[in-house]
Amino acid sequence: MSLVTVTRTQAGTSGILDRIGIGHIALAAALLVYPAVASEFFLVQIGAYSLIWGLIALSLMLLGGYGGMVSLSQITCAGIAAYIVAIFGTNSMNIHGFGWPWWVLVPFAVLISGLVSAAIGAISVRTEGIYTIMITLAIATAFFYFAQQNYVLFNGHSGYAGIPTPQFWGVHWRDPLPFYYLCLGVSVVAYVAVLYAAKSTFGLALQAIRDNPRRMRAIGYDVTAHKVLAYFYAGLIAGLAGVLLVWFNGRVSPGTVDVSQAIDVLVIAVIGGLLHPIGPFIGAVFVVLIQTFAIDIVGAERYNTLIGLVFLTIVFVSPDGILGLWQRLKPHLAQAPLRPSRR
């Protein structure tokens, strides 16, 4: 009883700052003032683009990190949201383009992405480990070829171009500064939601299912239903990323959802680390930087070799990615100044 009282008092006095954590406050400050120091190129091509890929990888982190389900079809869900924005919104191809306003279009695209993800989940949750990877890769590949060959809906190889980013509240959201803050805002909402939900009943149950599905059944959980619902939530996040991605590019085509993109999501998530929802964003910054500057360093055609080597090195040194590396270093860094200096 006294234990409970103490915890309550502490939560009351040391308050919100402690709950949020000093790391988060520093990070938020850095991200908010980043536009003041970053060039337009660094703001959008690196900043906003990393946030978008971080979001897609976050949807994989939710499934893989908390649920133990590694899905390679999260890019497919993002792509479907992107296609919906093109088909039901506006495009310059004179195909479909129903001109729905953004406030109908975006929730619709995100919801469909969630439902598609749930359907993919329903197909794949009865498999485990490598088989989940195989089946979701097969789904991603199948969708790529379908989009490439279907002209009625997906306009085949060329896809859709000329997709505008909406303007509202007097802001043109594709301008560098607004677009950066838009991506940052969406990312923060998704990140905080995942972080919060990780300790909700659903989040705890998902992690318990990852660790011991048999016991979870024996205390009344429908393991399949929980996993499929996790896929639904992951699909919502991927859908948000898909909307931002199609606004970023102004176009969507089968190339948006091909196998190499699917693999990139996995590479980002693994390089960043699946231990914590910040991992995917760290991984995204890392990979986007390499993607952008690999041409200067090793030439365009060696990019895949470079990213492959970086991937191998990180996985070899730290299976939990950069995040795992940081967590192993942190105690040493913290202790260093405390050690007595030796002569």
């Binding site: 909700s200 009943t201 992690q207 011991n212 016991r215 059944r217 024996a218 205390i219 009344g220």
Partner: protein, 262 residues
């Protein structure tokens, strides 16, 4: 108490918690157990004894649906649950513990029991974090008190001792208003003190909660049960009160191996 349960079983009129009719489980050509029929009254406490490999754990797995039975019929409080998924059986009030602890190593003790309470409630999909004043959390803390784990509520399960993990196994089975519990060797590997505590916990359970306990230690089994079923080579070969079982020459031959006097 024991008397009335036995009577109702003989007449076949009382409300039965569990009715097994010729239940069997095969693994390929191997028969783990077969032709098992049992009538267990609501609130009855039954011990299942038998040598290693007799099929006791597999019988539990068939009752809970961990492994579906390959033949026979199982009713739980009158309802046919033979081919029902495990979680549906649990939501009807069936619970179990495992011979080899099945816990969530990376989770805190309190959260484990909290999840067990939520598993049978409508809130199991809730996206809200449980607050300190949450009613389910309070329920979980009561259960932790009952199994003497209240001092370890924030400890990670992996950091618990073997005996504490066995107590947590029991806590998970007590969560969420159970009507009938299957205990699979809860005393295995416990110290004498811990065994004593276990017997006290079992005897302190509300009277309406019935259970089957698998127990190698005859002394423990006889102290917590009012009726005994003996299994050997996949079959139930004898049933009776603890006194009858202890006195039975066949039981002494097969199970006790002359270890016990009559």
């Amino acid at each position: 108490m024991a008397q009335s349960n036995v009577a109702s079983r003989l007449e076949g009129t009382g409300a039965h918690a569990l009715e097994l009719d010729d239940v069997a489980r095969h693994f390929g050509a191997l028969v783990a157990f077969s032709d098992v029929s049992m009538r267990i009254a609501a609130g009855e406490r039954r011990a299942v004894l038998g040598s290693n490999g007799a099929g006791k754990t597999t019988l539990f797995n068939a009752i809970t649906g961990d492994f579906m039975p390959t033949a026979g019929r199982i009713r739980f409080f009158g309802e046919d649950i033979t081919s029902m998924p495990t979680h549906e059986r649990i939501r009807r009030g069936l619970r179990r513990t495992y011979q080899i602890s099945q816990l969530f190593a990376r989770m805190s003790v309190l959260n484990s029991v909290f999840l067990a309470c939520r598993g049978v409630s409508r809130n199991r999909f809730s996206l809200l974090r449980p607050g300190l004043s949450d009613a389910t959390m309070a329920q979980a803390e009561l259960i932790l008190n009952a199994v003497h784990l209240d001092a370890y509520r924030d400890t990670l399960v992996a950091a618990l001792s073997h005996g504490q993990q066995r107590q947590l196994e029991i806590a998970l089975a007590l969560a969420g208003a159970p009507r009938f519990i299957l205990f699979d060797e809860p005393a295995a590997g416990l110290s004498p003190t811990e065994r004593h505590d276990l017997v006290a916990i079992l005897n302190a359970l509300p009277k309406h909660i019935g259970y089957i306990i698998i127990e190698h230690d005859l002394d423990v089994a006889l102290r917590v049960s009012e009726y005994v079923s003996m299994m050997h080579n996949g079959r139930v070969f004898k049933e009776g009160t603890p006194a009858e079982i202890e006195a039975d020459p066949q039981v002494q031959d097969i199970y006790l191996g002359g270890r016990h006097h009559g």
